[in-house]
Symmetry: C2
Subunit: 352 residues, 2 copies
Amino acid sequence: MPKIDRDQLEDICVTALQAAGTSEADARVVADHLVDNDTLGHHSHGVLRLREYVDAIDRGELIPDAGPRIVTESASTAQIDGNWAFGQVVAEFASDLAIEKARTAGIGSVTIRRVKHIGRLGRYAEKAAGRDMASIIFTCGGGHGINQAPFGGTERRLNSNPVAMSFPSALEGPYLMDMATSVVAEGKVRMYRFRGEQTPTGWILDSDGNPTTNPADFYEGGTILPLGRDEGHKGYALAFMVDLFGGVLSGGGIPGDPTDSFSNDSMIIVLDPQRFVPIDEAKRRASIMTEHIKDTRLRDESRPIMYPGEIEARARTANRDKPIELVEATWEGILSVLRQFSIPSGRWHVVG
Amino acid sequence: MPKIDRDQLEDICVTALQAAGTSEADARVVADHLVDNDTLGHHSHGVLRLREYVDAIDRGELIPDAGPRIVTESASTAQIDGNWAFGQVVAEFASDLAIEKARTAGIGSVTIRRVKHIGRLGRYAEKAAGRDMASIIFTCGGGHGINQAPFGGTERRLNSNPVAMSFPSALEGPYLMDMATSVVAEGKVRMYRFRGEQTPTGWILDSDGNPTTNPADFYEGGTILPLGRDEGHKGYALAFMVDLFGGVLSGGGIPGDPTDSFSNDSMIIVLDPQRFVPIDEAKRRASIMTEHIKDTRLRDESRPIMYPGEIEARARTANRDKPIELVEATWEGILSVLRQFSIPSGRWHVVG
């Protein structure tokens, strides 16, 4: 597998994105997000996406030199039109605005619409926590990327509609929840297919509505089930709420009335803990709770209990200085983007 | 089973609560909540609780003539001390305040602590939706009522930590999610034991940490698992976040550092949809989405797809004018409270 240093990989992305019409500042935002996700091992949201983003630009769905615009605003709320700019650029702008509102008003709620793939929600949630804020993020697909069945149904009707929440901590990383409201995100099913493995029972139905463990069945008209399996009414309810908060309130798209193309319509809520308790006291008490919860007899001695976000925090620390390994297909995608813009790849140092 | 009209049952509760030292106004709030939950079929949060509440008063844990006090407040936030008053009284006060803040500031976030059992979260969420507001509610047990294992653990460390969300609708009832973040609420396990039935696999572990389907094992030192079964890291993360938002930010109790007695420490977030889209437009688009999601091939033809909250809306309509049937033990509990205060039960008309 090709191996490349983080800085080099980021530079490739910045160069390619600029060639595709993105400003240097925006290209840096997007490249940083992509490479950071690879660093964390979340390759489905990593540089693998570069080819897809450039394709979206070529189709006119993503406007690389567009930027977000505030449509309506109050001290604690704002609705933002993304103008089909890069999702990362729009969502960074929106989370900065929500953080600012939380700082001045105690709590801020900002929606975004007409916005391409915003990537890993955890990134925005981590940023809020890093600034001593708590956050709740609801993200839908604007009526696109439909892959989840409602509870009791056998056909796709909802996006995997992720939810993220974060809270400041005194630990290695912030408290971070970042999860699809479907039993798994589509990327996981894709990984099983890629590796030629069967998916666990309870994840997917085939196109006839029958349970299956063959990941290919999902791609041939099947569907992913909601989080919770037999208690899937809970995951389904969460997914439904994400479309209401993220899709309806953003003025974006919804199942049954989608936007022109895929749009990560979202609501970002940021809350200042200091309006409630001093921040050091909040962190101290969160640590007491964390320690108490972790100190529990284990199901499997080799798998300690983690606080939400601990996996990401550890991965970031462990992989900070390591080169990033890319699967061949991802590297090929990057090379094809470079070729498209006649950028010689020899400028960067790649091993393997 | 004893049957009694709604009004009569409410009157019994008001009379008993007043005899226990509650003002008429507060007694009416609590009685209305309890009877409404029985009307919806949520008997675990119904008049069954009367005996428990009076016991808490007798122990000095619940102060029947206390009321909530605002500790800190801003245009969009408030922290409330419940002063160990009735949970329903405190949570009604807090949700009214959060609704008022949402109306004036766009979004309001209010915490409560030192507050007894607040009952069914959905009640407060429904109220917000009925006033054309959206809501998110996080409720923990102040470090008490610990019955859920962290993902990967085999011992109880968290409360069932429920989460509720609501959104206004143009349908029979509001959109309403109201769920434990454990795979099931403890009340469901109790029902299985009461009926002498085995619980589904994947709900509980026994005191040795082994999976079991015997509900009695839970009560002998076992634990309930988090929502999600094999994907229980998601339910666990949600449960963890509930303790951070509801427990840490309320200044209340947490696992590892509990309050003096059980306290439904919570955060209630209310948001005005009109800051984002006109309310009729929001409801219209939510209806389009609802219709689209419901129109899905079913797994079981006899079980149509419901929108979140539809079960409650239908139950309220169907049971509005029906007498409430109580199991013998619940009725006995009520009679014992009446006896305690020397109130003759003959004043009310009970059948069976």
